[in-house]
């Protein structure tokens, strides 16, 4: 019998702990338990038989750590084969009459994935795939992924299981005392991602006892539409006379697990510290309990690597600003591979209060799949907001969905068969919450009825791919009323009917409605309010528009979605006070006292203009505003040369004299950056073509291979950019050849390498060696906590730069020579 069929009306019992039983049988500390499958098969069979005898339906093969990082391919195959054989033999020998299954056990690789660790997601998928393939060949009944404490790692393992087998896959995560994974994911986030990828059962194991996991289990039962599993420890471990003992014994364990069976969990076993006696007690206890049916939860969820966002209640704001359409500055950033600009837009929108970010990086001349993949990874390194992947290119969509850590929103499908037949399979594989536009081969219908009809067609087609309507959100398309004054009415009716008759969520790109009209915000925000009243679940919108945010907060307060109006009060109290003065006149009230002033005053050559003063004092907004003013009368590059650079020189000199310190230097750099930003906008608008203010030579910068510390490197980069260098930042943990290739590509005269650890200095040396061979013209400066002049000399660097300003000074020398040549 298939394990899934069996589970339909039975509890499924797993086995218990393995480690302590193996130690009792003589496994030595440091010895790899998987090797016992071959060296001590009789012990493994004995232990596993005792679990079947106790009533376990499923015994996990002794392969928790069987992966390609610990064993070579040949040994891995031998061990997995032997492990499955042992479990089968245990089932054969057991006198138990229950249904028996063997699961391939897969534990974490023990590597943290990028961006917080150094291991590639695709490498992890490949590594798990090996174990899965051997397990499938050995003939297991199901795959059991367990003890995973990171969301991305879990995705890699599940993807490997799905891509290399058709077997049922159970996924179990390890939660800490706060009810989250070590890397931050909540149960709801895990449910959203794992169900999206069609895990057959999900839940928690290890780390805590059954009582401490009640909260986590309740969350699973609330969100999950698949069976929920629990495999807790025998309480908490203590050391007693050199032995580990656990504080929950079989009767209490069974009592606690029994309560959770009553609440609805369907699969139970034990982890660390549990023995066959625990399983026997649980099986016995379950005889008085009727399994609670697993029900479909009609919840529409998307998730990031930390949390889930639910649609259908309080309206969801999706930031629209990561999109090149009609934005010259954004297009320029895409062409220049300026990912920081995109990250900046993401963070600004997060601060403005959106719950999701739309990500559109489509421009005809860029490699969209590669860029979207990179954007997803970089965005998920700085923001925990879930993303909406917005592309018409199915290749880009797959690249983005695959790399996404969580369950993404997919923008979009429509009623065209050719679109549904390529996008729905991706959603079925990777999971996703899909925006569906109510248009088809016949275009956008004029009436609400016809749009609803298309929506109905899409719901049916999605079901063919196993995608239920809770994972669809319809966009009935807002058209401008300047062309057709009935357009908004049709949209609002469609929103109403789809939400209330089809009972599916709706979303709109709000701002289209006012296209071609003056003072668009008035129409847009009113339309937003009316659509919300008709049941709109989400809006793709501009969060910088105060009118839109006003509507959002007021609507929530008026619709009883804001307890005690607390969100509204916080929002409204922090609104900028209406002012009659020009925006720049009142700026600069802060920073007029304290060290910045003192430093500025004490330097020999003080700032000579308002703009220079603003930069020296690190006043970001004021600097931006003053630059904007100056741009009316001065050329962009002139402002850089006569205002920004001199101001930076003042701060830089003071930093070198230790009159100001690093945070102040950074403040000034940030302020200068806002001046550059204004200059770039002005230049992009005038189609000047030259990149914003880069008047100096290319500078390639990287943290070397093996090193993941980049704060120092990022500071140097920021300051270099301020001084007009065209910095190409390769990031951290950069392979040697990648640095060389970039230097060759740009014919860059200077390279900066950073390393924090002594262990990564050899990688620096190797990079320099390759540079000397393939890019002999390039000068190399090095920096980082462990470096010294002697070290720099020993590895053949041209210069050791102690800090950001020394790097600038050296780069200026090189730039002079570069300009001469």
């Amino acid at each position: 019998m298939n394990v899934l069929d069996f589970m339909k009306d039975h509890f499924l019992f797993l086995d218990g702990g393995m480690g302590t039983l193996l130690q009792e049988a003589g496994l030595q500390p440091g010895e790899l338990p998987e090797r016992w499958n071959v060296s001590h098969p009789e012990e493994i069979v004995r232990i596993q038989k005792s679990y079947y005898d106790a009533g376990s339906n499923v015994v996990l093969s002794n392969t928790f750590g069987a992966n390609g990082l610990k064993f070579d391919e040949e040994e891995l195959e031998t061990l997995v084969m032997a492990a499955v054989r042992n479990a089968r033999e245990a089932a054969r020998q057991s006198s138990g009459t229950q249904e028996k299954f063997v699961a391939l056990d897969i534990g974490p690789l023990g590597k943290l994935l990028k961006p917080y660790g150094d291991y590639e997601f695709e490498d992890a998928v490949a590594m798990y795939s090996k174990t899965v393939r051997f397990g499938v060949a050995a003939g297991v009944d199901l795959i059991f992924i367990e003890t995973m404490n990171d969301s991305y790692d879990t995705k890699a393992a599940l993807l490997a299981a799905k891509e290399n087998s058709d077997l049922p896959v159970f996924v179990s995560n390890a939660y800490d005392g706060t009810g989250h994974l070590m890397t931050g994911a909540s149960p709801a986030a895990m449910v959203a991602m794992l169900e999206g990828m069609h895990a057959d059962a999900i839940g928690a194991n290890c780390s805590l006892g059954p009582d401490q996991l009640v909260g986590v289990m309740e969350e699973y039962l609330k969100y999950a539409s698949v069976p929920v599993l629990l495999k807790p420890n025998a309480g908490l471990p203590r050391s007693e006379n050199g032995k580990t003992v656990y504080d929950v014994f079989p009767p209490e364990f069974a009592e606690s697990v029994g309560k959770l069976l009553e609440k609805g969990i369907r699969i139970a076993g034990g982890c660390c510290g549990t023995t066959p006696d625990y399983i026997r007690a649980v099986v016995e206890k379950s005889k008085t309990i009727t399994p609670v049916p697993v029900t479909e939860k009609e919840l529409s969820l998307v998730s990031s690597y930390t949390h889930a966002v639910e649609f259908g209640g309080s309206p969801i704001l999706i930031g629209e600003r990561i999109n090149p359409t009609g934005k010259k500055r954004f297009q320029q950033a895409l062409r220049e591979n300026d990912i920081d600009y995109i990250l900046g837009e993401a963070l600004k929108q997060q601060d403005a209060g959106v719950q999701l970010l739309d990500v559109n990086v489509g421009l005809p001349e860029i490699d969209e799949p590669a860029f979207l993949l990179r954007a997803v990874q970089e965005l998920q390194a700085v923001t925990d907001l879930p993303l909406q992947l917005d592309t018409t290119d199915p290749v880009a969509m797959e690249a983005g969905l695959r790399a996404y850590n969580g369950k993404a929103m997919v923008n979009s499908v429509n009623g065209k068969e050719e679109v549904m037949s390529v996008i729905f399979p991706l959603v079925a594989k990777y999971g996703g919450f899909v925006v569906a536009l109510t248009l088809d081969e016949g275009g956008i219908p004029d009436t609400a009825e016809e749009r609803v009809a298309i929506a109905e067609k899409i719901v049916k087609r999605a079901a063919d791919y196993g995608i239920s309507k809770k994972d669809l959100i319809f966009d009935p398309l807002a058209m401008t009323i300047s062309a057709d004054t009935t357009a908004a009415l049709a949209t609002m009716q469609a929103v109403h009917r789809i939400r209330h008759e089809l009972k599916v969520n709706t979303s709109l790109g709000i701002s289209n409605v006012s296209f071609g009209l003056p003072n668009r915000n008035i129409i847009t925000s009113t339309f937003f309010a009316l659509c919300l009243q008709d049941g709109l679940s989400a809006a793709i919108m501009n969060p910088y528009s105060q009118e839109m945010m006003n509507v959002y907060h007021a609507f929530r307060a008026l619709h009883n979605m804001d307890e005690n109006c607390m969100d509204y009060i916080t929002y409204a109290q922090n609104l900028p006070a209406p002012t009659m003065t020009a925006p720049t006149a009142g700026a600069g009230t802060s920073g007029s006292t304290g060290i910045s002033d003192a430093a500025a005053a004490s330097s020999g050559e003080g700032p000579s203009s308002e703009l220079q003063k603003a930069i020296v004092r690190g006043l970001k907004e004021k600097t931006g505003a003053l630059t904007k003013e100056l741009l009316a009368t001065q050329k962009p590059l002139e402002i850089i040369q006569s205002e920004v650079i001199p101001a930076l020189n003042i701060v830089g000199a003071d930093f070198e004299k230790k009159k100001v310190y690093l945070p102040q230097l950074l403040m000034a750099a940030e302020a200068a950056k806002s001046a550059f930003e204004e200059v770039k906008v002005a230049m992009a608008a005038s189609d000047d073509g030259t990149s914003g203010g880069s008047s100096r030579c290319p500078f390639v910068i990287a943290t070397v291979h093996g090193d993941i510390h980049d704060i120092g490197k990022n500071i140097v980069k920021l300051i270099l950019e301020n001084y007009g260098f065209a910095v190409s930042d390769l990031g951290k943990d950069v392979p040697e050849q990648t640095v060389v290739d970039e230097v060759v590509r740009l014919h860059a005269p200077i390279v900066g390498l950073s390393a924090l650890m002594t262990t990564t200095v050899p990688a620096m040396e190797e990079t320099i060696k390759l540079l000397r061979e393939q890019a002999p013209w390039a000068k190399v400066c090095v920096g980082g906590a462990v470096l010294t002049q002697e070290y720099a000399d020993a590895i053949g660097a041209d210069r050791y730069c102690r800090d950001a300003m020394e790097t600038v000074r050296y780069a200026e020398e090189i730039d002079e020579e570069w300009k001469k040549s």
Binding site: N149, M182, G242, D340, Y661, M667, M757
Partner: protein
């Protein structure tokens, strides 16, 4: 409580203890250390605190961390023996002269790993680009937090030892002096640090979460 029991038990026995895990309350903040780790030298700190921009960023940093950090320590106690060349024998391979000097005369050592979790790394990531000075202050704050956690644990160990008529040495970390960082590859598994503390090691032996510390505390008679 558990810490005391384990240490006292270990002092009375000559067996290596099973790793134990402790959750600490938020240690009190050492502002001087925080700012020092944030590249503001001690002699500048008084001035810095008067700078409204710095003060605002400090406040922002402090407002971001509640709930984002956890304070966990895993530790075990090992008996020490000495090889024929006079180096201490640990459950990991090393021949460090500095470590030998540090624990000369000790008969036991506490091995521990402390971490404030991955939340701080997410915050640093989030802010280092959007607001570099805040990023720097968060970086410094993370360093101070994990050091203060080590101080809290170390203080407890020292006090328990003292009450039992024993002395403790300055804590000594892998990667310090001539004790190679590669020791981490054997050190962390001794504490089951990946599973129990969420500390993983990169190929170049860097810990993630980045605000994690491993160290050895020698105990002498």
């Amino acid at each position: 409580m558990d810490c005391r029991r384990i240490i006292e038990e270990a002092l009375a026995s000559d067996k290596q203890t099973i790793p134990q895990y402790l959750d600490y309350d938020t240690p009190s903040l050492n502002v001087t250390e925080w700012l020092r780790y944030s590249c503001i030298p001690v002699y500048e700190q008084e001035n810095a605190a008067k700078d409204p921009e710095i003060a605002a960023s400090m406040e922002a940093a402090l407002s971001l961390i509640p709930g984002a950090l956890s304070f966990r320590v895993g530790f075990c106690v090992v008996p020490l023996s000495w090889d024929e060349d006079g180096f201490p024998v640990f459950p990991f391979a090393q021949r460090s002269e500095k470590l030998r000097k540090n624990i000369l005369g000790c008969d036991r050592a506490v091995l521990f790993a402390a971490t404030i979790g991955s939340g701080i790394d997410r915050l640093i990531r989030r802010y280092e680009k959007a607001d570099p000075k805040l990023g720097l202050l968060l970086q410094g704050l993370g360093a101070e937090r994990v050091e203060s956690l080590c101080d809290a644990f170390n203080g407890e160990v020292s006090e328990i030892c003292k009450e039992n008529g024993r002395e403790t040495r300055m804590r000594f970390s892998p990667g310090y002096g001539d004790l190679p960082i590669e020791v981490q590859r054997e050190f962390l598994p001794l504490l089951d640090a990946e599973r129990r503390l969420g500390i993983t090691l990169s190929d170049s032996c860097l810990m993630a979460p980045s605000k994690s510390v491993t160290a050895i505390i020698g105990i002498s008679g």
